[in-house]
């Protein structure tokens, strides 16, 4: 061994001391998710020993005002906030604020000077983590300005001092704009410096798909077209568009949810085992899945997709307005708030197994799950009378809420008769491990600081996903049809059931 003390001690993926610059620091994401996640990491003792967090936004604010604003966010949204000790005081001392317009070159030069000053004062090694939590229209310019100010230079993946940039979704609004944005970013940065975040990949249950599939011997042999009848992936939201009406009306469910979260889940369910648990090995396999997904010709889009738009209804006992009555939404909007897609994967493992994806707003509840339905046994030994109530075997991965995994199978009902009834075997994170799962952003922020890009998407993944989505959108455009209406509080247009043609089953009521 080069270092004999290392034997028996795992390589620590310790986050390195750095300065984290949050662009869009006066926005919702910073206050609700990012800073509370950083605080939770601090409480768990997982942050580097030296760290500075600099908020960057247009709104004028002093450091202290920024700290006060963040305290509110942490109080409300951190999973483990406590006033019983002086952790907040210590954490707040790492927070700073820099006011500047996103396109103001002088503001970036001043930022560079301030970061250098902080390096000297706090003994930081010059590592920079730029988090672009801004509106996507600024991504490209922001990266340009960072480059001009000398804030993007740095060594390789693990060579200090480094500079990394986290980009929030959406990465473009179609393939062309995504390519343009990626090219623009990569004129300034190397691919290994770019961390495209999809917070779904930070969720414990999503990561557990890999653990479930590749650390157990019993599931993988069944994980193919011989045994799987179909797969349903649902990401349902109870909420409407709220204050995001303006943004959402230009996006819609397919671009807001399917292009990223749902296709990422599909990749994890369908990918082949990677050669190693390493970022590029995993991402290579995900890209292969996306490339194997059969493209839907625009003329056939109506066969493979259903889109809907919610009308007024009742959700959670409250009357809610329809989509076109929401603030910021055009009165004649044809934007879909619900989408269901049937995808086929043309590879050896999945040939003939449909993957049914759906996502919608104003569904009866917030629920995300992956449902894998297995084929029925080759013959019905127990007959309709006894086994009639038994649904096919299924594995259900609850992504949120109530994270866990269930297995559904038939079991004999106690008693003299041979009656078979469906039962469920449940594993729940909350009960099995006792502790609450960390928030997705905690894991992802820690990964960026440690230089681990496994849970971030690569350029080719993003672009392969856009290729599929562009086909669907082109088909919708050519058809000129409007989305089907569905009542808020329902599970979307009934028409979506037709995507099951030729399959056993229907959309699950979660």
């Amino acid at each position: 061994l080069v270092n004999p003390l290392r034997e028996g001690i795992a390589e620590r993926r310790a986050p390195q001391p750095c300065t984290l610059v949050l662009f869009g620091a006066s926005g919702d994401l910073t206050e609700r998710k990012l800073v509370p996640a950083l605080y939770s990491l601090a409480r768990d003792g997982l942050l580097p020993e030296k760290l500075a967090i600099v908020g960057f936004a247009r709104r004028p604010m002093t450091d202290d005002q920024f700290r006060a604003k963040m305290l509110e966010g942490v109080r409300r949204h951190a999973r483990n906030f406590s006033e019983a000790d002086d952790l907040w005081k210590h954490f707040a001392s790492t927070l700073f604020y820099h006011a500047s317009g996103f396109e103001d070159a002088e503001g970036y030069r001043a930022l560079a000077s301030r970061l250098e000053r902080l390096d000297r004062e706090l003994g930081l090694p010059g590592n920079r983590l730029h988090y672009l939590a801004t509106s996507p229209e600024y991504f490209s310019k922001l990266v340009d300005r960072l480059g001009e100010a000398g804030l993007t230079g740095g060594g390789g993946e693990r060579v200090s001092p480094w500079a990394r940039v986290v980009v929030e979704k959406p990465i473009g609004h179609d393939l062309a704009s995504s390519r343009a944005l990626n090219s623009s970013i990569l004129r300034v940065l190397r691919e290994d410096q770019v961390y495209r975040i999809d917070h779904y990949l930070g969720k414990e249950t999503v990561q557990n798909i890999l653990a479930l599939r590749f650390s157990n011997g019993i599931f993988e042999p069944l994980w193919n077209h011989k045994y799987v009848e179909h797969v349903q992936i649902t990401v349902g939201e109870e909420i409407g568009v709220g204050s995001r009406g303006g943004y959402y009306d230009g996006s819609g469910a397919i671009r807001d949810m399917v292009q990223n979260h749902l296709l990422q889940l599909l990749c994890l369910v369908a990918m082949e085992p990677p050669v190693a648990f390493e970022a590029d090995a995993i991402r290579d396999e995900k890209v292969k899945v996306l490339r194997a997904v059969r493209r839907i010709p625009p003329a056939k889009v109506a066969e493979y997709t259903v889109r809907g738009q919610y009308t007024a209804g009742v959700v959670g006992g409250q009357k809610v307005p329809g989509y076109i009555e929401e603030e910021g939404v055009a009165a004649d909007s044809a934007t879909e708030t619900y989408v269901a897609v049937r995808l086929e994967i043309d590879n050896w493992r999945w040939s003939g197994v449909p993957f049914l994806l759906r996502s919608g707003k104003r569904l009866p509840k917030r629920a995300s799950e992956i449902y894998v339905q297995f084929r029925k046994p080759p013959m019905r030994l127990f007959g309709d009378e006894t086994a009639g109530t038994v649904a096919p075997n299924a594995m259900i991965v609850n992504v949120q809420p109530d994270e866990g995994i269930s297995l559904r199978f038939g079991s004999k009902v106690p008693g003299p008769a041979m009656r078979v009834r469906q039962v469920k075997m449940d594993f729940r994170y909350g009960s099995a491990f006792g502790a609450a799962s960390p928030e997705a952003y905690e894991r992802l922020l820690l990964d960026v600081m440690s230089g681990d890009s496994t849970l971030f998407t690569r350029r080719d993944e993003v672009e392969a996903a856009w290729t599929l989505i562009d086909d669907v959108r082109e088909g919708w455009r050519q058809s000129g049809e409007r989305p089907m209406p569905y009542f808020a509080g329902s599970w979307g247009p009934a028409e979506a059931e037709r995507l099951f043609r030729g399959q056993e089953g229907s959309w699950r009521k979660l």
Partner: protein
């Protein structure tokens, strides 16, 4: 009926309910029944029962029992397990007594409580075999079983208990902060000889994990790595409530840390130094062998738990050294070092002292991948203490 309801309420609230030792499982079923019904009917009010391991905890008297119970209750919240407490203390002659209680907590606001069970068996000290013999049928299948010997004050009995539970438990958890290293080494050797597959984990070893990790990290540095092969002097400072207390006997963690260095770096032939206070190991190198002088130095430090390691200084030839010390405000390890080529920048690692419950949780949840390293370190530490 009222009595039964009260017993069920008490049980869930963690109050020990005396039950017939021959019918413990039946009694548990009876006490859980209302919760099971509630869960089936989705009436609310149900609890989730979880069990990640079996913990058999030997407690030699009532004082040890009183000390252990809060720790195990805390552990049960993070690592729900069936806890079987064997208490060698009874006020009812040779009769075996059994008590059951639940440990419940709400992991996430609004979710149902998660519960596990604590079973307490009491018998007089001379009837340890009665206690041990009752364990087998109480273990939950398909989860590991560990015997925890972390609350003893004297050495009698436990090896016998280990033998009695041979084939029943998969691992042994000890605490070298409380026991003589020689005894633990004996336990380690005995178990290794008799049950090669039986794990032995030490709470103090896990507490030293941050030190070991930090030292390993430091020597990953290409400038400092070569120093490891040339160490000639080691000084470990440990907290003492009496600055006069010298030598290794009062400092099992310090000895264990040196034992780890010695086992990893191939130091052997431990002997007392000429000054009578230090200990000398022999280190082999290309030119033959070289002495490594080790001293353990107590430092009066009321702020720290007696025995806690406060500093490690490793000196190689010339002026090369690495010095790691524990600092306060906030609690952290700070390292600095120097080689003829460069002065190494100071580093800091926040330290999060762990309670006994947290250490047990760590042992159970993420046991060391290579437990043999602990046993080798223990052997070297024992040689150090015995020199």
């Amino acid at each position: 009926v009222e009595e039964a309801v009260k017993a069920q309420d008490d049980f869930l609230a963690g109050v020990p309910i005396e039950v017939n030792p021959a019918r413990i499982e039946n009694e548990l079923s009876r006490l859980w029944k209302p919760q099971d019904h509630a869960a089936e009917g989705a009436e609310g009010g149900a609890v989730t029962r979880a069990c990640l391991s079996n913990l058999v905890v030997y407690l030699e008297d009532r004082a040890a029992y009183e000390e252990a119970v809060p720790v195990l209750q805390e552990l049960g919240k993070n690592f729900p397990s069936r806890m079987i407490l064997l208490v060698a203390d009874s006020d009812r002659g040779s009769k075996l007594q059994a008590f059951v209680s639940a440990i419940c907590h709400v992991p996430v606001k609004g979710s149902p409580p998660v519960c596990c069970e604590m079973l307490t068996l009491r018998a007089p000290p001379q009837d340890v075999d009665l206690l041990a013999g009752s364990v087998g049928c109480l273990l939950v299948s398909d989860v590991p079983a560990a015997l925890v010997l972390a609350w003893e004050r004297d050495t009698s009995g436990e090896l016998g208990l280990v033998r009695l539970l041979d084939g029943v438990v998969d691992g042994l958890v000890v605490d070298s902060r409380r026991r003589a290293l020689a005894y633990l080494d004996h336990v380690g050797r005995q178990t290794a000889a008799q049950r090669p597959g039986l794990r032995v984990d030490d709470l103090s070893w896990y507490e030293l994990g941050t030190w070991r990790q930090f030292l390993a990290d430091i020597f990953d540095d290409p400038l400092l790595g070569p120093l490891l092969g040339g160490i000639v002097r080691v000084e470990v400072v440990f907290a003492s409530d009496d600055a006069g207390a010298a030598g290794a006997k009062g400092a099992p963690p310090a000895s264990l840390l040196v034992g780890w260095l010695a086992s990893r770096l191939g130091w052997s032939d431990c002997r007392r130094g000429r000054d009578g206070a230090s200990v000398v190991f022999r280190r082999r190198d290309r030119g033959g062998s070289q002495d490594v002088v080790v001293s353990l130095r107590p430092q009066a430090a009321k702020a720290w738990v007696p025995g806690a390691v406060l500093g490690v200084r490793l000196e190689a030839g010339g002026d090369s050294f690495v010095h790691v010390e524990r600092v306060q405000g906030p609690d952290a390890l700070r390292a600095k070092g120097s080689t003829p080529e460069a002065c190494v920048l100071p580093r800091l690692l926040p330290l999060h002292p762990r309670s006994t419950a947290a250490l047990l949780w760590r042992v159970l949840e993420r046991p060391d991948a290579n437990p043999g390293i602990f046993l080798e370190s223990l052997r070297s530490a024992r040689a150090l203490v015995g020199a």
